[in-house]
Symmetry: C2
Subunit: 419 residues, 2 copies
């Protein structure tokens, strides 16, 4: 039997040693390693496909759903997309070494707040094997060592990809152990990993709310959380109703399974009669089921009655809860009570309503006259992301390269002491 | 018997409601409340002294040490200092609402990263009652609701101070429950508090390493940690030895009981014979006990031999471990192996050594030619601090008002959708 705690501690130590070297590695070496990684993914795609075939066989035998199997499946196109993902990271600016702020004290001391890598990042993820390549590339570019712990369905694929990436990176000049993969699928190997606070600085779980909760419960290492996205669009009394309809349709149907899709539509009572019939017809044309409050049903009688659970639901599906609210304040109270502080939008032409909504709604991203679907690293111009955080600390919203860094103070003097 | 979990949940909910209102409270209202708080502390000092007398009686009966009783004791001067501390916070700039960064996307979307309060902050602290006033003031100014949980020795003092502050703040316009005090000293009331992740956003424990570890172990809320300060000064071969001596004396003896005092002195072998005899004489004159490696003892024979434990020790006392190292690399390796990533200094005139030390030593604050004692919110110009963080995430080093905030994205468009 493997002593996971002992093996993981050794792995953690190696990661810490790699992190020490990565922290001061030049951008040129990092980019060269990333280039080698992308080339290796392309050159050794056959190996990856073979490993993936083993996972797919296991998945079919275990009776996994078609959707799960699709998420797991690799093909030459998806492998090429992985390599292209790494190419994109090469072109992103290296965040390390940036002086965030610098000032001088009256005693002549120069203080600089400088951007540095976090150190060692643990990624705990489920099913999709491309996460292995995406996160390894982002961690390397930001100067962090990474410890990858993928789900057991994708074990062979992840192991193959991680091995290929690590080999290529090291050959091109990255320190050994910059990219490590936890080679055990056993669940009992997770808890000791989450206790390695001496060696791992941050855990990013990517997967279901249940996974994130479990990780948070057990971990003594800080965890970046993404619980869920119960996102709202509030159509204000002064909204451009045509724009509101366009935004609502986009937020609900463009990709209903994503965390930044709208789950609840709030409509100001002054415009509900004018707005609701049209938007409900269009949403239904796209296959969306509508569940509404009594006031909605007064306008469109055949809407299914919404229950208390509907206000809290993250459907991730073509279902929409709709509520008529008497005021901006009522809309904001609804969002504070039922929302998940992820992405919430107002559609309005009223400056005061826009200002108040932006100031008072405490979500990672607040949108004025734009779709919640735009809460995304690419839409924000970050180039790539390791996910969206609903944590309030360290990183909030889309996490790009900068969110994989922290800072330190570099204080330079000529003999200053504490008086 | 009190059902702590239930009571604390109610307290958490009230704090969350207060936080919603505090987030958009004007600086004028916050400053007015702080002014009222300082005045109330002064006007009601007699009440505070009476409560403190009850604590002191209990402390003497429990046989607490003289040092502990001193930390606990309030007198008119210390109460005035508390009020002055609040006056200082009034004069600090309100961090809330600052646009940290703003940019425009090709599709016309305007994205602003805006500084906002964290929300609800839980402070878990031991003995010194002035923490109640300091943290309540800093949290209010930064727009956060605060839940205070002090140690049982100072229970009456803390409760009195918190009550007076809360009453004054609310009368002056702060929302009710902005400042709450946990009125139970029972240890079993702590765990449920640390699980209130729905209502509390951040826990800052202020106390011993044991307290911080326990809180980290139990909490599902992010914790800002301050474990310990095993701080180093490295005297390089190219050091100005007079400056090195001045810095070493300051770092060790100016206040040995603080976390940013030097615990280990590292000296480059090229200058050990020249530097050590003099500095050891001066340190001994200040009452410092020296424990050295063999090379130190070769230069100053009557030095006590240092053991492995000495390299890891946080003495917080007039004891110093001294080691001769053959190179800058060896010094940095020692710091990486034994240090606590708190405050580490190099004394050197070599630009390359300074650059490498600053880049490669991964501590909250790295000092070049200055004393480690300067890692401090006042020395950095923050005006006040809630403590120093050795966590790497969210806040590192001295935590002032800015470190009590987070950010959100405010995205403004004219109908942009996800394509």
């Amino acid at each position: 039997m493997t002593d996971y705690a002992l093996e993981l501690e050794a792995l953690g130590k190696r990661a810490r040693a790699a992190a020490r070297r990565l922290g001061s590695l030049g951008t040129d070496v990092k980019d060269r390693s990333l280039g080698a990684m992308a080339r290796a993914i392309r050159a050794r795609s056959r190996e990856i496909l073979e490993a993936n075939a083993a996972d797919l066989q296991g998945a079919r035998a275990a009776g996994l759903s078609v959707a799960m199997i699709d998420r797991l499946t690799l093909d030459p196109k998806r492998i090429e997309a992985m390599a292209e993902g790494i190419d994109v990271v090469i072109r992103l600016e290296d965040p390390v070494g940036e002086t965030i702020r610098a000032w001088r004290r009256p005693n002549g001391l120069s203080i600089a707040k400088v951007r540095v890598p976090i150190g060692v990042i643990g990624i705990i993820y489920e099913s999709r094997p491309n996460v292995t390549a995406d996160t390894a590339a982002l961690c390397l570019k930001s100067g962090n060592a990474v410890v990858l712990r993928g789900g057991k369905e994708a074990f062979h694929s992840n192991k193959s990809i991680a091995g290929i990436l690590s080999e290529a990176a090291v050959k091109a000049g990255a320190p050994p152990d910059a990219i490590q993969f936890v080679p055990w699928t056993d669940r009992s190997a997770v808890a000791p990993l989450l206790k390695l606070d001496r060696y791992i600085d941050l855990i990013i779980p990517r997967g279901s709310e249940t996974l994130v909760r479990k990780v948070t419960e057990v971990s003594t290492i800080p965890v970046i959380q993404h619980f869920k996205g119960v996102c709202h669009v509030f159509v204000d009394k002064d909204a451009d109703l045509e724009m509101a309809e366009r935004i609502c349709l986009n937020a609900k149907v463009q990709r209903p399974g994503t965390c930044n899709a709208m789950e609840t539509l709030l409509v100001h009572a002054d415009v509900s009669e004018k707005f609701l019939p049209g938007v409900i017809v269009k949403l239904r044309q796209e296959g969306v089921e509508i569940r509404g409050c009594e006031e909605v049903r007064a306008v469109v009688p055949d809407v299914i009655p919404a229950t208390e659970e509907d206000w809290e639901a993250e459907y991730l599906d073509k279902i929409l809860a709709v509520r008529v609210v008497p005021s901006l304040d009522a809309a904001m109270l609804h969002i504070a009570s039922y929302g998940s502080a992820h992405s919430d939008a107002i559609v309005t032409d009223g400056l005061d309503a826009a200002r108040r909504f932006a100031a008072e709604v405490d979500s990672a991203a607040v949108f004025v006259n734009a779709s919640t679907r735009l809460n995304d690293g690419y839409a924000f111009g970050f180039g790539a992301e390791v996910g969206i955080s609903t944590s309030k600390l360290h990183a909030r919203g889309p996490m790009g390269l900068q969110e994989l860094t922290t800072y330190k103070y570099v204080v330079t003097g000529d003999g200053q002491i504490r008086e």
